[in-house]
């Protein structure tokens, strides 16, 4: 994924760092604010979808810090409902397009936008507006993957419940994985953000409900760790998720982080869900991910930079 470190090395590094993670979880070490002030952990941009997306990623140092020339990039939006962008159950097409443009600018050799829908693929592509929006970037970049042969059985090391699952081959082969979910509630997982969104990259998501949804999401995020999470909170589906219709909040915000857990955590604490405020720790998969050291949910200790554009 990162060019200086492949996914396997990265995972190994993460596992070796368990001690550090425990320390972080218990709050003994608070390294966030001590790191370079220039590059925040979380970049937040308020404004219209396209410019806010660019601004949020720029806050993190720009797309070139994520995508190196020649990289194959996989962008994973929410586009598995045949509902229009106004329903907030799919990612805003302009957010997705802008990311694709930025990846191209950074020199990516191939940018793919893929998902595994629950409904009729053609209709989801059409209704979500993502196919149409991205046509100007590349006619052939948006696809739905439903064929089992395009997935590969993959063991998840150190998994708690989801020990093995079939992961989209494109996701396994990509140099860079970018999660770009819409901020929405989810009646099973509490919220559906970048971690939950990874369920769109596996073949059989039913098994996850069969076992334990929350720890399954954490397991999945341990192998499908996005290099960049960009959360489309331009409108937030605060009730009725994942499919809606529900009560929406005008967020006009795009939240970016190289830490999926932090991006999700920040999104949870930034908006009301079901008319109430929640802490990230109240969403079990976020809490589990944090405890397992997959990322940090203690946003109060992280360096957050906000701009209005």
């Amino acid at each position: 994924m990162r060019t200086d470190m492949n996914r396997r090395e990265f995972l190994r590094y993460q596992m070796n760092g368990a001690l550090w993670l425990t320390a972080a979880a218990s709050g003994l070490m608070l390294p966030g604010k001590t790191l370079a002030e220039g590059i925040p952990d979380i970049g937040v941009a308020k404004g219209k979808p396209t410019i806010a997306t660019r601004a949020a990623v720029e806050l993190l140092g720009g797309m070139k810090t994520v995508v190196k020339p020649g990289n194959k990039v996989l962008i994973k939006p929410n586009m598995s409902f045949d509902t229009p962008p106004e329903r907030a159950s799919n990612t805003h097409p302009e957010v997705v397009r802008e990311l694709a443009v930025m990846c191209k600018e950074a020199g990516a050799s191939r940018v793919m936008i893929l998902d595994h829908p629950l409904r009729d693929a053609t209709r989801c592509l059409k209704a979500s507006g993502i196919l149409e929006a991205c046509k100007s970037v590349d006619e052939q970049m948006v696809h739905m993957i439903t064929d089992a042969s395009l997935y590969q059985e993959t063991k998840i090391p150190n998994a708690v419940t989801l020990t093995t699952t079939d992961i989209m081959k494109d996701a396994l082969r990509a140099d860079v994985l970018i999660a770009v979910p819409v901020a929405k509630s989810h009646s099973g997982a509490g919220v559906s953000l970048s971690m939950k969104g990874m369920m769109g990259l596996i073949y059989d998501r039913r098994t996850m409900h069969l076992k334990s949804l929350h720890s399954g999401i954490a397991d999945l995020s341990s192998i499908l760790r996005a290099d960049l999470a960009v959360i489309d909170a331009t409108r937030v589906l605060s009730t009725g998720g994942p499919g809606g219709p529900g009560k929406m909040i005008r967020g006009d915000t795009v939240i970016a982080s190289k830490d999926m857990v932090a991006a999700d955590a920040y999104t949870i604490s930034s908006f009301e869900w079901y008319g109430k405020k929640f802490k990230p720790s109240q969403v079990r998969h976020i809490r589990e991910a944090h405890e397992r050291g997959l990322g940090r949910m203690d946003v109060e200790n992280l360096n957050v930079k906000t701009v209005s554009v």
């Binding site: 629950l118 099973g188 219709p245 008319g275």
Partner: protein
């Protein structure tokens, strides 16, 4: 001229396959069921059984009306079944020279026709077993189509790496979903037998069995364009041996059973003296009479036979072994079979009522007529199943009794029935499944979801599963909190449920789902608007298409502790066990739907509603 026939056959079969394949891949083709509506027996039996006539059957009428003019052109030049069997002959080898040929069997098909029509008098449609177009559509749609998809998918798998290398994305991400069908074995066995019979006798099916051919034969006793034999005939018998239809009686080559003749003109082609002609006088070589006479004489000498003038049967075709009485008997047998089947346990009653036994999970496609008319009209061609994008429509074998063989049922475990899709109704040749107006489609309720709490992940296993709600296009699943369960559990809102089966299809519980569609409340109308009827019955079917609204939810919508998926106890430092935070959801009023508050004194009166103020 034989080439013209081959071309016509190939073009016709290609068109048939094009329409079928076109209907499978797109919904833009007009009249994908055109060929089915050419089949005279399919049309006739459906009209008699269904007690209705629609102009959709006009093509069959044209085929019949063409018979007095040109005979059974349909059989020889158009019928995809005939072409397929001819193709099979080429593929599996021609029959030996001395093949099984019995002129006695020729009339078997009339008996079959009589049986079929006899049965249809009482409303039993057996076309599915013998109508050539029904059989061949089922063969291509339910056997060949999946096989082709399977191979195409395998080939895609092989070329994908190359496509990846050359960055050919449309090829890389091309995905072919291979449909799967039930009852394949029975369809296959039937066709294996048909193809095997060709080994014994060309066009065995068309010669001896096809009731559509029989019906056309009745109208082709002496068509205007027919086989004529001139006096040049040398009685060599070549035409008799090469005729694929037993249309030329044994030893009488100058006579023709016109009803059996499919005008293939093989006899014209093989005749060594050009004595056979179909189109007027052209073929007689009248102008070269002297030539042909000498030619004839040499030919006669060669084979050492006399001309037909010496034939003992002159001018008379021998009697067939079946008498008029036999046909009557076959008709009566058909009527009898029909009556017996009507007294069968599974046969649908006129009115749904007491004592109707039907398979508990038998779900008919949306817009299917009331069961009895449905079975009377459905010709089991399999077109609806082949085009069903969800592959949920499956043929059944004997699950619904003898009369329901090969009829389509929804199989939600295999696939959901898309509430915006009406492909089955669009392609149905007999309107057994109605093509519904756009507004009516979602009101064509096919059943109602039922939850098996003892299998449900949320109810029984206390897991965070809400898949049925997530996938429901109708918003017909409500999640509510139960005391003692950390997660909300599903309830079906019956009047919002259309029975589409998304819930059953996606339910993570293995094998039999924990939520299943029962035919309960299915709407089956023979006329009128589904929307009106649905509303009249108080259904509230609507797709989750309304726009979301901006704003915060009202307190009553999400009372304290009711945010699904969130843990109650704040702070990640909490010890395990916080999930069972007590007192979690019994906020007053939460369980009570507005308008159902119990007025004191009334709640215990059985059958009385609570006092609701206007």
């Amino acid at each position: 001229m034989i080439f013209f026939r081959r071309y016509s056959q190939i073009i016709s079969l290609s068109l048939f396959l094009f329409l079928l394949a076109g209907a499978v891949v797109s919904d833009t083709l007009a009249e994908p069921d055109f060929f089915l509506r050419l089949d005279p027996v399919l049309a006739a039996v459906t009209v008699v059984c269904g007690r209705f006539f629609i102009w959709a059957f006009a093509p069959a009428l044209v085929v019949i009306l063409l018979c007095p003019i040109a005979g059974r052109l349909f059989c020889g030049y158009v019928c995809p079944m005939g072409t397929t069997l001819d193709g099979g002959e080429r593929l599996f080898g021609s029959p030996p020279k001395k093949y099984l040929r019995s002129e006695n069997l020729v009339n078997l098909k009339y008996l079959i026709l009589a049986f079929l029509l006899g049965a249809s008098l009482f409303g039993l449609s057996l076309v599915f077993a013998v109508s050539p177009l029904s059989l061949i559509t089922r063969f291509y749609g339910l056997i060949i189509y999946p096989v082709i998809s399977f191979f195409a998918d395998s080939i895609l798998g092989i070329i994908r790496p190359a496509a990846d290398y050359f960055d050919m994305r449309s090829l890389m991400y091309a995905q072919i979903r291979t449909p799967r069908f039930a009852t394949q074995l029975f369809i296959l066995i039937f066709f294996v037998i048909l193809f095997a019979l060709i080994r014994f006798c060309p066009r065995f099916w068309c010669r001896y069995l096809c009731p559509s051919g029989a019906m056309l034969a009745l109208f082709s006793k002496k068509p205007l364009i027919r086989r004529r034999v001139s006096g040049d005939c040398i009685n060599c018998g070549k035409c008799i041996r090469s005729c694929p239809m037993s249309a030329i009686p044994q030893d009488i080559p100058d006579l023709t059973r016109h009803g059996e003749c499919i005008a293939c003109r093989t006899c014209e082609n093989v005749c060594p003296v050009d004595a056979v002609a179909f189109l007027g006088e052209k073929g007689y070589r009248k102008n070269k009479k002297s030539d042909s006479e000498s030619h004839r004489d040499t030919q006669r000498e060669k084979i050492g036979r006399a001309g037909p003038d010496h034939s003992p049967h002159k001018g008379k075709i021998p009697e067939t072994p079946f008498s008029r009485r036999d046909f009557l008997r076959a008709g009566l047998l058909g009527a009898g079979t029909s009556v017996v089947s009507l007294t069968g346990l599974n046969t649908p009653h006129d009115k749904a009522g007491e004592g109707q036994v039907a398979p508990p999970w038998l779900l008919r496609p949306p817009g299917a007529l009331p069961e009895k008319s449905f079975l009377a009209r459905c010709v089991r061609c399999g077109e609806c199943m082949a085009v069903c994008p969800g592959n949920t429509l499956q043929p059944i074998w004997l699950a619904a009794g003898f009369t329901g063989m090969f009829s389509p049922v929804l199989t939600p475990r295999r696939g959901a029935c898309d509430p915006k899709c009406n492909r089955c109704g669009d392609v149905c040749p007999t309107n057994a499944i109605l093509s519904l107006p756009k507004n009516d489609r979602i009101w064509a309720k096919t059943g109602t979801a039922v939850i098996f709490r003892e299998k449900c992940l949320a109810w029984e296993f206390q897991k965070s599963c809400m898949v049925c709600d997530e996938v429901c296009p109708f918003d017909a699943i409500d999640f509510k909190r139960e005391p003692g369960n950390p997660f909300a559990v599903p309830h079906v809102v019956e009047d919002k449920c259309a029975g589409c089966g998304y819930c059953e299809h996606f339910c993570p519980v293995q094998n039999q789902a924990a939520i299943m569609i029962s035919p309960m409340g299915a709407l089956r109308l023979s006329r009128g608007s589904y929307e009106e009827e649905g509303k009249r019955q108080g259904l509230r079917l609507s797709l989750k298409s309304k726009k979301g609204t901006y704003g915060t939810p009202s307190e009553s919508e999400y009372p304290e502790g009711a945010a699904p998926g969130f843990d109650e106890a704040p702070g990640f430092d909490n010890a395990p066990g916080f999930d069972n935070a007590p007192g979690f959801d019994n906020a007053p009023g939460f369980d009570n739907a507005p308008g159902f508050d119990n007025a004191p004194g009334f709640d215990n009166a059985p059958g009385f509603d609570a006092d609701v103020k206007d």
